[in-house]
Symmetry: C3
Subunit: 191 residues, 3 copies
């Protein structure tokens, strides 16, 4: 059968590339966690890139992320290492940010990048989804002309400066579930 | 006397309409409180519109408001049900928001509506005024083009998504008083 | 020698003016602290300009600054009087704000003033630098047209209204250090 002979080679290639990327992503993830663990528990701290990224405070954790840090990866890493049941985030700093506005027709985020901008405010939460940390973070950024842009954060890295984040810890393990027909991930308060 | 015969019928109609609206508002208020109470104390929780809107956390309360929820009414309802002495709010989500900029000449707010926008940040406080909860909330919103708008919130409803709010509880009953000639409601720290 | 006779009089004048300004600044500082102390500990509180500016709450301190208050001076004053080891700030109100965007070439802030604007969100931290309180605060403001502007706050005074600030207290004395070649002050989490 003609169709089975051709076997959609692009799809196979794409599948393997995706698998490779997924493996690389997991390796990177485990390495990040390893360094987070080392940084948190090492006796001799130095103020280089290996400096610790968070400390325990009465409200939860105080994070200071540094130039080049992947904001989402490091918060997710901390959530796993510290077994955070759930938490609310609040922060500010200097970042490269990627925002996305959810298009309810296509059910996809329309993204836009903002480079080397002040993060005037960052507000969000840590919960769990399918056994993994689930972040929901909104932010407001501005550049040289001070005009503010904001929305749902898809990702962010720290630019020339730092990002300070207060993580207010909750005592209940909370899940985030994609609710239909809403098409949005919603933090669940029930059991 | 001509003027007394005409008796400003518009004013009377307006008075009765206002009274009717006031009664309806109170009924709606009590119903909201009833459902809040039921939602909070019912044994069998379901993830529908009757799902609970907040849980107790170490810092105070974590609220997750849902599509169609009136943000101010539900926060005021929680303040009454839980007898919150005073609190600070922080939140983010997807809303329809009404902002007002205070005109110090007319002593009125000049309003503007923003529909289906990301609430990038919401900051405010709960106190009491004339025996009722008094909210003072500021917010920043943005739409598809990510341009941010902000100011004093006159009202908000949750749009297609949710609104997460951390309520940091204080232990002192605080009042808000309208101070003259300032013409602004100010949170009072003294006795 | 001609040059030594002229002795750069402008420079001397400038030095003395700087010294004079520095002394005046310190006097103002001590007076501010004195009034803060009086306000905090006086038995008879009145709701005038001498009313207390903050109270203790479980999370730390709740501040309500009033018309004309210098936001940075009063937070720094509280940090000294209460010996705050470190803290995270969150606030909102009505202000005159001065923002600065850091120019990494000139290593200076390019400032811009915004008068009589709503502070939609204010996020920052209190730490220590060279024995003095060190504030790092970002904010978002908007005026009559609700368009938002934001960034790194260089200074702010309260305008016709108030500024409410929640100070979430940490238990560790933290330092802020200017890191090179970054050229930015970074909050230090290590020992």
């Amino acid at each position: 059968m003609a169709i089975s002979i051709r076997q959609r080679p692009g799809a196979i290639y794409s599948y393997e590339r995706t698998k490779f990327k997924s493996i690389m992503k997991n390796i990177f993830y485990l390495l990040s966690l390893f360094f987070l663990f080392v940084a948190e528990h090492s006796v001799a701290q130095t103020q280089t890139d290996t400096s610790k990224r968070y400390i325990k405070v009465p409200a939860g954790y105080l994070m200071v992320l540094r130039q080049g840090d992947d904001v989402f990866k490091l918060i997710e890493g901390m959530a796993m290492v510290e077994k955070i049941p759930s938490a609310t985030l609040s922060g500010m700093g200097f970042v490269n940010a990627r925002f996305g506005f959810f298009n309810f027709k296509t059910k996809e985020y329309e993204p836009r990048e903002f480079s080397e901008v002040e993060m005037g405010s960052m507000t969000g939460s840590i919960a769990w989804q399918n056994g993994k940390p689930s972040l929901h973070i909104h932010g407001l950024v501005s550049g040289k002309d001070f005009k503010a842009f904001g929305g749902h954060l898809l990702g962010a890295t720290v630019s020339t400066g730092s990002l300070e984040v207060l993580v207010t810890l909750h005592d209940k393990q909370l899940q985030r579930i994609k609710e239909e027909p809403l098409g949005a991930n919603v933090l669940q308060l029930g059991q």
